[in-house]
Amino acid sequence: STADDGNGNGNGNGNGDGTPNDTPLEVLHAWTGGDGADAIDKLTSMFEEEYPDFQTDFRPIGGTGNVNLDSVVARRLANRDPPAAWQAWPGANLTQYGGLLRNISDVWEENGYTDTMNEMAAELSRLNEEYRAMPLVSHRMNNLFYNVHVFEEAGVDPDSVDSPSALIDAFDTIQTETDADPMTHAMSSTWPTLQLVFQNFLGMEGGYDAYMDFIEGNGDEEHLTEALELTQEMLGNYINDDASTISFTEGNSEMMKGNAGCIQQGNWAYGMYRAEDSGVEYQEDWDWMAYPGTEDMYMLHIDGFTFARDTETPVKQKIWAEFLGTKDAQVEFGNRKGAIPLRTDVDTSRLTPFLEMTADDFTSVDKFPPTIAHGLALPPEPMDAAMSAIGNNFMGPYDVEAAASDLLDAAAMQES
């Protein structure tokens, strides 16, 4: 129910633009399979239950990393026929849409989301001082999931691994002590590597500040080079042979089987452990830690929605935005997706145990570096350039120098 928002059955709401019409509310998203599909199904059925008279049209647009979704949206926008709402990463990603996004500050204010939403998330939802996105849930990016048996067999104490270089030492041990690969990594696409590079970047001394400088275009080349070298050492020596052909899901299942010691991933990886037939138990078979050196950080990833200006369904649009901010929506969606709500006022016990822990971290740490690979930190073009920097220089033979300079160039692009 929507009790805590005190907002009835979608009648006109303060904005004075009347009652919802018959045009269906069109919402585009990219959750076509797995956890995401479950989660969005739940979300939409909750919405439809609540507003049974509403015509809605929820459309999944598949493809990795929202690429297809973005291009469909881009073309619809160019055609002046945008969907009412679509899934989008907030933050820098929003800049590309410029004035085409609807200002939903009224929704934020009327519902008090300005106070109840995580501050960082709220800031990332603003563009030119106006709220233009509604965050839904968040994944934590800086996790290292590991196989308990492998670590035990190798005699590695997880607590002792507190920096990237300590991690490499641990890898060494695992390599000599067990048959498993120390780490599994997926390189069939570029983003996991991009992500890993910046885990190491953050995990090093002074990582957070260097990172925030970097995404503003003032990168520290030395720091970056060092992070790249660390990554190179990991990728060159301690990962699975078939890295370049597999996706992270395949890598993850290798870790679950005990063929690899650990995997660096966003906490969506948890979705696989949670599945009924996964055959692994939390803490018995798998466990996790913050990526070494980033214990005091929560590398932020946000799933949310943005809204187009000038659509035929302004009323429904608002109701949808409002709905996304409700605790129920965030909790139910988050639980299925393996992500935590961005509302700070939810009762975390409604979350699954693992998420509860994440949520607790979320409220206790104060450093929220936004992710590059998932659009929060860099606008699309620099982000693509960053992907290219990795893709071109850091997928096989590792060219630290070229990768570093390309990455710096990419981050600097947003200035011009």
């Binding site: 160019a78 992907m387 071109n392």
Partner: protein, 319 residues
């Protein structure tokens, strides 16, 4: 005959001119040109608008700064900025190089293999047409389908390629992961798909060479190898040219294969070609004008191949 001529001479000249003009007009109106116009005119309009309209529009767009979705292309100020950007873009250089390597390696190896297969089959073989059918089968499949098959073939742990070379104690290799191998692997898969086609073309060419040629060479004392090398293969020139052109056209359509195999606009390092770069710039980054300029460069590359070929065909009266 005389009376005829009298009759003609008797008519007034003015009248005759007018009559003549009328007759000619009438004849023109009834001429095959006018009568056949709807037959080729309608398809020409549709095709012309699509192909030539498309090309011209594309070039126009490439001369604007059109990008994103906030603005419409401004046809008022045209310049060559996009081209100078493309010419200095290392991604363009890299993809152009890959495109070129792909074209040359794929085309030449397919030609050689197709030639070999056609010579193999150009003899009295049982079930020849069935064999031919099997060799040609991959050609009937979509790039999207064959990409799935090869993705599995190249699978690191369970793929057939690694299984087979494993029998010889080699590998396993990361066929589509290793940037050094991936282009070769893609080319290999394409060769698998299209060498049957080259074979068919060469087979048709071989069968159009009369037996006499072979017999004459034998009576002239040439060995079998020499007969092929000096007499038969040189006569397959036009078959090779047309096969090569078609292969290159297929190679230019490689985007579909890469997209279907890797599921992304960004194929792995080493396989990025102009076609994927163009689609990526257009549909992922909405750099419409830039993408259009890359498309024009791609068109230029294929023109380099096609124009001489068409001219040659035209000269030979083969069109």
């Amino acid at each position: 005959m005389e009376s005829q001529q009298d009759a003609v001479a008797g008519a007034g000249t003015d009248e005759r001119v007018a009559e003549d003009r009328y007759a000619r007009l009438r004849r023109f109106w009834k001429s095959d040109f006018v009568r056949s116009a709807p037959y080729w005119g309608i398809p020409l309009l549709l095709m012309g608008a699509a192909v030539y309209g498309g090309i011209i529009w594309n070039v126009l767009i490439s001369l604007t700064d059109y990008e994103g979705f906030l603005q419409r292309p401004d046809y008022g100020s045209l310049d060559l900025d996009m081209y100078s950007r493309a010419l200095s873009d290392s991604a363009v250089h890299l993809t152009a190089r890959n495109t070129f390597v792909l074209l040359v390696a794929f085309t030449s190896i397919s030609l050689v293999l197709g030639l070999f297969l056609s010579i193999l089959l150009d003899r009295d073989i049982r079930q020849k047409s069935k064999v031919q059918t099997i060799y040609l089968l991959p050609m009937a499949l979509s790039f999207v389908v064959t990409a799935q098959f090869w993705l599995w073939m190249y699978n690191y742990n369970n793929g057939l390629v690694n299984t087979v070379i494993g029998l010889f104690g080699l590998g396993p290799y990361n066929w589509i992961g290793n940037p050094k191998l991936v282009l070769g692997s893609i080319i290999f898969a394409l060769i698998w798909q299209f060498s049957g086609y080259t074979m068919v073309v060469f087979l048709a060419g071989l069968q159009s060479i009369s037996d006499d040629q072979f017999e004459a060479a034998r009576v002239d004392g040439a060995s079998i190898f020499k007969t092929y090398w000096r007499v038969i293969i040189p006569q397959l020139k036009s078959a090779s040219v047309s096969a090569a052109v078609v292969l290159m056209i297929f190679a230019l359509k490689i985007f579909t294969f890469l997209y279907a195999m890797f599921g992304t606009y960004r194929p792995p390092k080493g396989t990025d070609v102009l076609a994927t770069l163009m689609v990526r710039e257009a549909f992922m980054l909405s750099n419409w004008a830039y993408a259009a300029s890359i498309a024009t460069i791609l068109l230029g590359m294929s023109l380099l191949v096609i124009a001489p070929y068409l001219y040659y065909q035209y000269r030979e009266g083969a069109l």
